[in-house]
C-alpha cells in the first residue's frame, strides 16, 4: 500500500534536543526532520542511545525539544504551551512505553478505562483488551500478568481512545517472538482498521518488514530512509 499521496499527519523540522548535565551536554537529537503521513506505519531502527525514544517523546508531546518545530495536521504545536500539549496528548496521541508503565493498583480494564474516561470517542475498554487477545484477563492486576500481557494491556490502553497517532517505544523489546507477533498484530490491526498513523521503535530489523517506511537512526540523526515495497504480515516474521 503506497501512501505517498495522502496528507501529512505529523511533520517535524530540525528537532534538536540537548540534555544538559552539569558541564557536559548530551546531544540526543542533532537536527531531525521527519514526516508521518496519515495512516502510515513507520518503523524507527537504530543503535541504542541514538535518540529514538527522545524523538518519539517529542512527537508525542511528552517532552520538549531544545529547538525545532512539530506540526500536527498542518498546525504547529506550541511546545511551550502546557494546555496545548495536554490537549494534543489527550485527543490525538496513543503512547506505548518501552517499560509498560501500568498503574499497579488498577486492573487491566481499569488501566484502560483511565484513558477512555477522558477521551472523546473511545471504544469500551473490554473491546480494546479483546483486540489484543486479553478479553479474558480484564480483572487482573498488572502483578498477575506476564510481561507480554502487561505490554498488551499497555497497547490496549493506547488504542482504546482511537488515537490519530500511535507511538510505540519498543513494544516487543521484552517479548518472545510468538508474543511479539501477537502484539505487532494488534498494532497492525489498529493501523489498518482505524487508519491510525503509527510509529514504532524497535531494535529488531526483521520487524521493520511490516512497515511502510523504515527510518534508520544513528547518533541523533536520521541517516537513511527506506521504503518497503510490500509489507509483510507479522505472522510471516520469525526472530
Amino acid at each position: 500500500m503506497e501512501k505517498d499521496t495522502s496528507a501529512t499527519a505529523l511533520q517535524a523540522r530540525d528537532l534538536i534536543k540537548i540534555y544538559r548535565m552539569g558541564t557536559v551536554d548530551v546531544h540526543a537529537l542533532r537536527g531531525v526532520d521527519v514526516d508521518l503521513r496519515e495512516g502510515e506505519l513507520v518503523v524507527l531502527l537504530g543503535p541504542s542511545g541514538s535518540g529514538k525514544s527522545t524523538l518519539l517523546n517529542i512527537l508525542g508531546g511528552l517532552d520538549r525539544p531544545t529547538s525545532g518545530s512539530v506540526m500536527f495536521r498542518d498546525r504547529e504545536i506550541d511546545m511551550n504551551n502546557e494546555r496545548t500539549l495536554n490537549l494534543y496528548r489527550r485527543n490525538h496521541v496513543g503512547f506505548v512505553f518501552q517499560f509498560y508503565n501500568l498503574i499497579p493498583s488498577l486492573t487491566a480494564r481499569e488501566n484502560v478505562a483511565l484513558v477512555t474516561e477522558i477521551a472523546r470517542d473511545p471504544m469500551p475498554p473490554s473491546r480494546a483488551l479483546a483486540m489484543v487477545g486479553l478479553g479474558d484477563r480484564l480483572d487482573h492486576f498488572p502483578a498477575q500478568l506476564s510481561g507480554g500481557e502487561q505490554q498488551r494491556v499497555a497497547i490496549a490502553r493506547a488504542i482504546a481512545k482511537r488515537p490519530d497517532l500511535l507511538l510505540c517505544d519498543e513494544p516487543t523489546g521484552a517479548l518472545d517472538s510468538k508474543t511479539g507477533v501477537l502484539v505487532l498484530d494488534a498494532i497492525l490491526r489498529i493501523n489498518r482498521e482505524l487508519g491510525t498513523t503509527t510509529a514504532l521503535i524497535t531494535h529488531n530489523a526483521v520487524i521493520a518488514e511490516i512497515a511502510n517506511r523504515v527510518l534508520y537512526f544513528a547518533d541523533g540523526r536520521i541517516v537513511e530512509t527506506r521504503l518497503n515495497s510490500g509489507q509483510r504480515a507479522p505472522s510471516e516474521l520469525a526472530w
Binding site: M21, G22, N57, G60, L62, D63, R64, E82, R83, N86, L87, R89, R90, N91, V93, F95, F97, F99, Y100, N101, L102, I103, P104, S105, L106, E110, N111, A113, L114, V115, E117, I118, P142, A143, G147
Partner: protein, 787 residues
C-alpha cells in the same frame, strides 16, 4: 466511580499504615489545640454561670467593727444595687486525728432569709439553724479531706475559747472556688476550711453584736467603680476599714482568673508550637509521599490529564488523610478537654461543670491541619506536573553528580560498600536528608519543650521553697501583736528560731496605675524569710523605701529610683510617697517589701508584728503543734513542707498532666514521622533493594542500607532537636508569664537525654516494623511491576 477514584481508594488502603501514621500526626496537633481551647471555654463558661447563679458580689470590703446601721448608708451609695453586711472571722480548729492546727474562715449566714449575695450551694445536709449557735455548714472540699458528714462534730478555738461545732451540711461558695488560707498559694483542704454559721452566734463569739466587719456589694451596670470605692472607704475608715476592692482582686477569683489566663497562655503557645510542628511534619511527609508518585503523575499527564485534574486527585487523597486525622483529633481532643476540665475542678470547686465546646476550636484546628497537609502536597504535585511527562516518568536524578570531597577521602576507602551507598545517598540529596533530619529534630524539640516543664517546676519550687525560705512554719496573728510577743514563741517547745514580719494591705499608685498589693515588712538581717532574688539570692532591705518584684514594677511601669504613692489600708491609713529602691525577680506573685521598722513608722501602730516565721526541731514538733492549737490570737499556721506538698500536688495534677499529654503526643509525632520517613524511603528504593538482593546482597545488608540511613539521620536529628527544643523552651518561658507565675528556663541534661532516648526508641520501633517488610520483599513483584 472513575478509575482515578478507584486508584485513590486502593492506594489509600495499600498505604494504610502510612495513612494512619500521618493521620496520627495531624490528630496530635488537632487534639492538643482542641483540648486547650475547649478547657478554657469550659472554665470561663462555668465560672460565669456559677457567679451569676449564686450572685457573686462585685465589690468587697472589710473593717474592724462597723455598726449595723452603716449598712443602709452603704446601700445608698450611688451605683450600688445590693449591699450585704456580714461577719468574717478566723479560727483554729482541732480536727480529730489530725495533729496540725487547721485554719478556718468563719462566715456568717443571714439571720433571716436567703443570702442576698454569694449564695451557698448546699451539697449535703442543710443550712445552719440560726437559733442553734453550734451548728455549722462546712465547705465541701474540707469536709471531703476530713471525711466530715452532717452529724459529725469537731472542736474550734473562737477568740481563745474552745467550742464544739456540729456539722449540719456541706456547701460550695463562689467566694471559695479556689479555697486557700490567707497567705497560702495552693488549696490545702486538710489544713484550711470555710465554715458558715448563724450571724448571732458568730457575733456573740466575737463580740460583734449589732455590728459587721465585712460587706459585699453588687453594683449597677453603669456604676462608677472608683467612686463607689472612694465613698465606701470613706464610710468604713472610721471603723477600721482596710480598703474596698473589686471582684478582680478577690483572692479566689484572682487565682481563678490567673489560672484561666495561664491556660489561655498555654493554649496559645504550646499547642500553637505543636500544631505548627505537626503542620510542618504533615507538609513534609505529604510532599515526600507525593514525590514517590512522580512517575504516575507523569503517566497521567502523558494520557492527557490536566494539571487541575491531577492536583484535585491528590488533593482528595490529602483531604481523606487529613480528615481522618482531624476527626480523630477532634474526638480525642474533646474527650481530653472534658477530662482536663474535670481535673481542674479538683482545685477549682464548682458545683457543676459546663463543657459545651463551640465550633471555634475545631474549625481552627481543622483548617490549620488540612491547610498544612494540602499546602505540602500540592507544592509537591505542582513541582511534579511542571516537568514534561517524559522526564517525570524517569526516576529523579541527583541534582548534579560530582565526586565530592567526602567520597574521595581515605575514610571512604575504609568503608564497606553498603556504608558507602548510605553516605552517597545523603551526600547526593543533602536537602532531602536535611529535611528528614529536621522532621525528626522537630519531634525531639517539642518533646524537650514539654519535658522542660518538669525541670522548670522543680527549679521554681527549689528557688521559692528551698533557697528563699528557711522557716518550717509561719504563724499569722489574728490581730497585730507587740513585737515582744515573739518571746512567747521562742519559748515554745522545739522552736529553734523565730523571726517576725509585718504585713499591711496597701494600694500602690503610679499616676493612674493602681495595684492592690500588700507590703511585707522584713526585719533587718532577716534570714528565715528574707527578700530573695532568683539570681542574686538573699537581699538586704535598705530602710526608707520599697523593694518591688519585677512583675509589680512592670504593672506599675516603674523602675528603681522612681517614686510611688503608697496608701496603707489599715490603721490610720496614711498616704505617703516612697522611693523604689530596688527591683528583684521572683517566680511567684508580685510582692512588695519594706524594712519592718520603717513600715511600722509609717503605719503608726507602734512596734507591732503580723506574724512570725519559726524554725522547729523535728523531734518536738507534736508538742509544738499541741501548744499552737491552744494559743490565742493565731489566725493561721502555714507549714512549709505542706506548702511544698500542695505545690507539687497541684502542679502534678494540672500542669504536669497537661505536659504529660504533650509528651504523649510528641511521641506520637515522633513515631508518625519516623515511620513515614522509613516507609517512603522503602517505596523509593524497593526496586533498588530488590535488585541488590538479586545481585547477592543479604537481607541484613539491604536492611542496613535502608535503615542505616535513617539511623544516621537520627543521630544528626538529636543534637539539632536539642538546639531547636532549647529555643522553643526559651520562647515559651518568656511568653508564658502571668501575675501568678513566671517560669524559669531550666533544662537539665537528663531532659535532653530523655528526649533523645524517646526519639531513638521511636526510630528503633519503626525500623523493626519496616525491617519485617524488607524480609518479605517480593523480589519478583517489585522488579516486574516497576513500582
Amino acid at each position: 466511580m472513575t478509575s482515578l477514584d478507584r486508584k485513590l481508594i486502593r492506594e489509600l488502603w495499600r498505604l494504610r499504615a502510612q495513612v494512619l501514621a500521618i493521620a496520627l500526626v495531624i490528630a496530635s496537633g488537632t487534639a492538643l489545640l482542641i483540648m486547650a481551647l475547649t478547657t478554657i471555654e469550659a472554665l470561663e463558661e462555668t465560672t460565669a454561670a456559677y457567679y451569676e447563679r449564686t450572685r457573686f458580689a462585685d465589690m468587697f470590703a472589710e473593717a474592724k467593727r462597723a455598726p449595723e446601721y452603716l449598712g443602709r448608708d452603704i446601700a445608698e451609695i450611688p451605683g450600688v444595687r445590693i449591699a450585704e453586711t456580714r461577719i468574717v472571722e478566723g479560727a483554729i480548729l482541732d480536727m480529730p486525728g489530725f495533729s496540725e492546727p487547721v485554719v478556718a474562715r468563719l462566715m456568717s449566714l443571714p439571720e433571716r432569709g436567703p443570702e442576698l449575695l454569694n449564695a451557698l450551694v448546699i451539697r449535703s445536709g442543710r443550712l445552719a439553724d440560726p437559733t442553734r449557735p453550734d451548728e455549722v455548714v462546712v465547705s465541701e472540699p474540707f469536709a471531703e479531706a476530713h471525711r466530715l458528714k452532717p452529724g459529725d462534730s469537731f472542736d474550734a478555738i473562737l477568740r481563745g475559747r474552745k467550742r464544739n461545732l456540729q456539722v449540719v451540711g456541706t456547701a460550695l461558695s463562689p467566694e471559695y472556688v479556689y479555697a486557700i488560707a490567707p497567705g497560702g498559694l495552693m488549696p490545702d483542704d486538710e489544713r484550711f476550711g470555710v465554715l458558715w454559721m448563724g450571724r448571732d452566734a458568730l457575733a456573740a463569739a466575737f463580740d460583734l453584736k449589732a455590728s459587721f466587719n465585712s460587706v459585699t456589694l453588687s453594683l449597677l451596670p453603669d456604676a462608677n467603680e472608683r467612686d463607689v470605692i472612694r465613698r465606701l472607704d470613706g464610710l468604713l475608715s472610721p471603723f477600721g476599714g482596710i480598703g474596698a476592692y473589686l471582684r478582680a482582686d478577690q483572692t479566689s477569683n484572682w487565682f481563678l482568673e490567673s489560672e484561666i489566663a495561664q491556660q489561655k497562655n498555654m493554649s496559645r503557645i504550646m499547642p500553637a508550637i505543636f500544631l505548627a510542628v505537626a503542620a510542618f511534619l504533615t507538609n513534609m511527609v505529604m510532599a515526600r509521599l507525593i514525590q514517590t508518585e512522580r512517575r504516575e503523575i507523569g503517566l497521567l499527564k502523558a494520557f492527557g490529564y490536566g494539571n487541575w485534574a491531577i492536583g484535585w486527585h491528590f488533593a482528595k487523597m490529602v483531604l481523606v488523610i487529613g480528615t481522618i486525622g482531624v476527626l480523630m483529633g477532634s474526638v480525642i481532643g474533646a474527650w481530653l478537654g472534658h477530662w482536663n476540665t474535670e481535673l481542674y475542678t479538683k482545685f477549682y470547686r464548682f458545683p457543676f461543670l459546663l463543657y459545651r465546646p463551640g465550633p471555634a476550636g475545631f474549625v481552627i484546628a481543622g483548617a490549620i491541619s488540612l491547610g498544612a497537609a494540602l499546602a505540602g502536597s500540592l507544592a509537591a504535585v505542582r513541582s511534579a506536573v511542571r516537568l514534561p511527562p517524559a522526564e517525570a516518568m524517569q526516576p529523579p536524578s541527583p541534582p548534579i553528580y560530582r565526586r565530592s570531597f567526602a567520597a574521595r577521602t581515605v575514610l571512604a576507602g575504609a568503608l564497606d560498600e553498603p556504608s558507602r551507598m548510605i553516605l552517597r545517598r545523603i551526600i547526593r540529596w543533602p536537602v532531602r536528608a536535611f529535611l528528614a533530619s529536621l522532621g525528626l529534630a522537630m519531634s525531639v524539640a517539642v518533646l524537650i519543650m514539654a519535658l522542660q516543664w518538669v525541670d522548670a517546676i522543680d527549679s521554681l519550687a527549689e528557688s521559692v521553697f528551698e533557697r528563699a525560705q528557711h522557716q518550717d512554719a509561719t504563724v499569722a496573728f489574728s490581730d497585730l501583736q507587740p513585737i515582744g510577743a515573739i518571746r512567747e514563741f521562742e519559748h515554745m517547745p522545739g522552736v529553734l528560731a523565730a523571726e517576725p514580719y509585718r504585713f499591711v494591705s496597701a494600694r500602690i499608685n503610679n499616676g493612674h496605675l493602681i495595684e492592690r498589693q500588700g507590703i511585707v515588712g522584713v526585719p533587718t538581717g532577716a534570714i528565715l524569710s528574707p527578700v530573695f532574688d532568683v539570681e542574686r539570692g538573699r537581699l538586704e532591705v535598705p530602710p526608707g523605701g520599697l523593694m518591688l518584684s519585677v512583675k509589680l514594677a512592670e504593672l506599675l511601669e516603674v523602675k528603681a529610683g522612681d517614686t510611688v504613692v503608697v496608701e496603707l489600708l489599715e490603721g490610720r491609713q496614711p498616704r505617703v510617697s516612697l522611693p523604689v529602691l530596688q527591683i528583684f525577680e521572683t517566680y511567684i506573685g508580685k510582692p512588695a517589701y519594706m524594712d519592718m521598722a520603717a513600715l511600722n513608722r509609717i503605719a503608726g501602730d507602734g512596734r507591732v508584728i503580723s506574724g512570725i516565721h519559726i524554725r522547729v526541731d523535728a523531734s518536738s514538733r507534736t508538742a509544738l503543734l499541741t501548744t499552737l492549737k491552744d494559743t490565742p490570737h493565731i489566725a493561721a499556721v502555714l507549714f512549709r513542707h505542706a506548702a511544698i506538698d500542695t505545690f507539687y500536688k497541684t502542679m502534678g495534677e494540672t500542669i504536669l498532666i497537661f505536659v504529660g499529654f504533650f509528651v504523649a503526643f510528641s511521641m506520637t509525632l515522633s513515631v508518625g514521622v519516623t515511620y513515614n520517613s522509613i516507609r517512603i524511603a522503602l517505596s523509593e528504593r524497593a526496586r533498588e533493594l530488590a535488585t541488590l538482593r538479586v545481585l547477592g546482597f543479604s537481607r541484613w545488608e539491604i536492611s542496613y542500607i535502608l535503615l542505616g540511613e535513617v539511623g544516621l539521620l537520627t543521630w544528626v536529628a538529636i543534637p539539632l532537636g536539642a538546639v531547636i527544643g532549647f529555643s522553643l523552651a526559651w520562647y515559651m518561658t518568656s511568653a508564658f508569664e502571668t501575675e501568678l507565675y513566671r517560669v524559669p528556663l531550666v533544662l537539665r541534661d537528663a531532659t535532653y537525654g530523655k528526649a533523645a532516648l524517646i526519639a531513638l526508641a521511636a526510630t528503633l520501633a519503626c525500623a523493626a516494623i519496616v525491617r519485617r517488610r524488607l524480609d518479605k520483599l517480593d523480589l519478583i513483584a517489585v522488579l516486574k511491576t516497576r513500582e
